[in-house]
Point group: C2
Chain length 470, copies 2
Amino acid sequence: MAKAPILTPQSEDFPRWYQDLIQKAELAENGPVRGTMVIRPYGYAIWERMQAEMDARIKAAGARNAYFPLFIPEEFLRREAEHVEGFSPELAVVTHAGGRELEEPVVVRPTSETIINHYFAKWIQSHRDLPMLINQWANVVRWELRPRIFLRTTEFLWQEGHTCHRTAIEAHEYATRILHDTYEDFMVRVLAMPVVVGRKTAAERFAGAINTMTCEAQMRDLKALQMGTSHELGQNFSVAFGTSFQDTDGAERQPWQTSWGTSTRMMGGVIMSHGDDRGLRLPPNLAPIQVVVMAIRDDAAVIEEVGRIHGELLSAGVRAEVDVRTDVSFGRRAVDWELKGVPIRLELGPRDLASGEVTLARRDSGDKSPVSLAGVAATVVSLLAEIQEGLHAEALERRESTTVDVATVPEAVEAAAVGWARIPWADLGAEGESVLAESGVTVRCLISADGGVPESDDEEGAIAVVGRAY
Amino acid sequence: MAKAPILTPQSEDFPRWYQDLIQKAELAENGPVRGTMVIRPYGYAIWERMQAEMDARIKAAGARNAYFPLFIPEEFLRREAEHVEGFSPELAVVTHAGGRELEEPVVVRPTSETIINHYFAKWIQSHRDLPMLINQWANVVRWELRPRIFLRTTEFLWQEGHTCHRTAIEAHEYATRILHDTYEDFMVRVLAMPVVVGRKTAAERFAGAINTMTCEAQMRDLKALQMGTSHELGQNFSVAFGTSFQDTDGAERQPWQTSWGTSTRMMGGVIMSHGDDRGLRLPPNLAPIQVVVMAIRDDAAVIEEVGRIHGELLSAGVRAEVDVRTDVSFGRRAVDWELKGVPIRLELGPRDLASGEVTLARRDSGDKSPVSLAGVAATVVSLLAEIQEGLHAEALERRESTTVDVATVPEAVEAAAVGWARIPWADLGAEGESVLAESGVTVRCLISADGGVPESDDEEGAIAVVGRAY
């Protein structure tokens, strides 16, 4: 007799499947203040892995971490006209503190361009101070009317990079470097997510930027998720905050800036990109637990061998844990590790031990097969790499097979109802973009004819990738 | 001719020395909103080292990281009477968000006992769920009337641990374990700070705790700094939030809790514990840069050898950097590395190279001497350990030599004007504590006659350690 599914099947109700999974895998919960979230230990362990991998790439790109205040004087936000217009509706404002009303209310940072530029103006005097490359790991607040856990929360955790450069070209190159070498590389190699990397249209641009570039991923319900953005800010903020430097020729100039961010939203991306009806499927390079070694039952020789395998895996650099909670039924434990998306389970019982084997269960395919206890760590290491590749290939295959080339706006609307569409930007344009919006379809990004990132809003041959989005 | 000092000398004006150092070593700055701070990249790199070392110890104690919301419903704070009384005067309150007035204002977390207990009540049902051991790295806000950078800021970064246990004894043992194995161990071994570990008097206890234990350090101006606290909360919060579990005997009981925290205040502790008139002196186990290898001038062979030494140091596990900015004067660079407290400088010029040596400058003693280029990494590794020990020994010696035993309250006041005093708690008592307070002197903690941590407020033979404090 078939058991009731633990999660609402994806095909039945994808949003409910998403919420079920987050709850049952103990990733997160809604906070008491609307739109906020609690990230539970298992979810936070995944986020810590993301942080570690992303932070290493950010440092490799030469940026240094720093920390700027949570509270920003309201007046700072007003200095850049588009910026304040973009963020005003989402601001949380502190009006009372220390038992009295503040003379000037302060806003809780929705992003830190303004406050960081206030310091850039102090710290930068000469071309020798450039490039200045800063990153910050922090919480930010944007009041959300329709919150959804991880994807759109009132408070979220992120990293935000802020840089100053001597020339427009250097700023452009750095924003592009972060886009590819930091973000795309992380998403592909760690998250196993094949992102489309392109340029946002003017309508979708960050408030205050002259160019926003983006990494867009496709979820299993075929909707798009913006995974990270890298902006060229031009001189908008350096002019607004009076940041200038003495250039090599002695002239006083404003630096060209970039900013770029990725957040806990990527948690939602991983869940919806790889998860299935049995739960999460974590790419091995991301998983805080890559392998769990389970004792099927309470048997001294089995427990001892579980410990030995665990040690062998740790020595081989595998993030492994043991599960010897034999007072809980084996089936229940196995289902829980499936829910949590652990890539490989090694299940050991007395019979396996007697035959010198252990049962290896793959979370990606669900396959189970016996493998020899001799050299099990080597088997696991090579299989983890295979699973990482496989999850990426599967997601890429899905995206390719559900993205169609179209030539007209009605065709794009039709295609976006069941997947993604590619349409020449010359055939769509800002007008067609507005028509799409009426059907809830957006231009995720523009890509060049050769698949690269367009250098301008109206690059010849540019193609719009369109779809529904989170 | 003596040059003007870079920093105000400690003996002249200690608080100004502290501020000068923080600015000149580029550790931090004041934020635009009163009492907030910007932690600059070099300061933040030190904080990241603290986080890494502390986080490893917290995980070794079995706690798991999680993240709870910044915003707490005002009503949560009111549930524990002492807690709300203690924190109300310091709260920052968000009254407007998303462009409108909130129906219920939310407070910005000053600490997270309340919101975390709201979730403990959901997550804990059975004794099998215990112990529950949670830690959080986060920013918190306490409105400060007399802010001082790192030491008392409106917003600061910290870790806060929150745990639930089946019995009072287990909670007590865990709070004590964190105090010694996590906090004291970190402060002694990483920060090279010999802390006095003891119990707070009832007057100095955390709002809502039944026992607060503390690590107290002495600064170079002989004032005390509270470096970290570990609290037993009893059942105060579990009762207030209705957290209960079915015990082994089937009875429904409230868990016993602990909470414990350390913060960016420790940055101030390191500065004032080790810093001298030439700048910061970082203990090698903390220093983000343990060794800087400097090219004295622009000479191809010198630059090449600097690179080789750098590689040898990195291979030996030393956190090393090179300084080949030969367009800046050598003296200026050396002074800057001194300011930044880098434990060892290796200064290489053509003459050193010719003689197969490099000049090694120690930041702790200021000594300079030539060492052989052959095996320089081994020399450095052993010297780093010696410097670490030496800074600890120096701080311990200072504390010992400036702490006196006294028998009466007037003697304690007199002694605390020029150092610390130890006085039997039986001779001081709560009444004597109030008298001390009139002279700005506080009981830093009570210690047992054998130097341990007293088990009760009125343990026989307990000794009060008193002094002026930050």
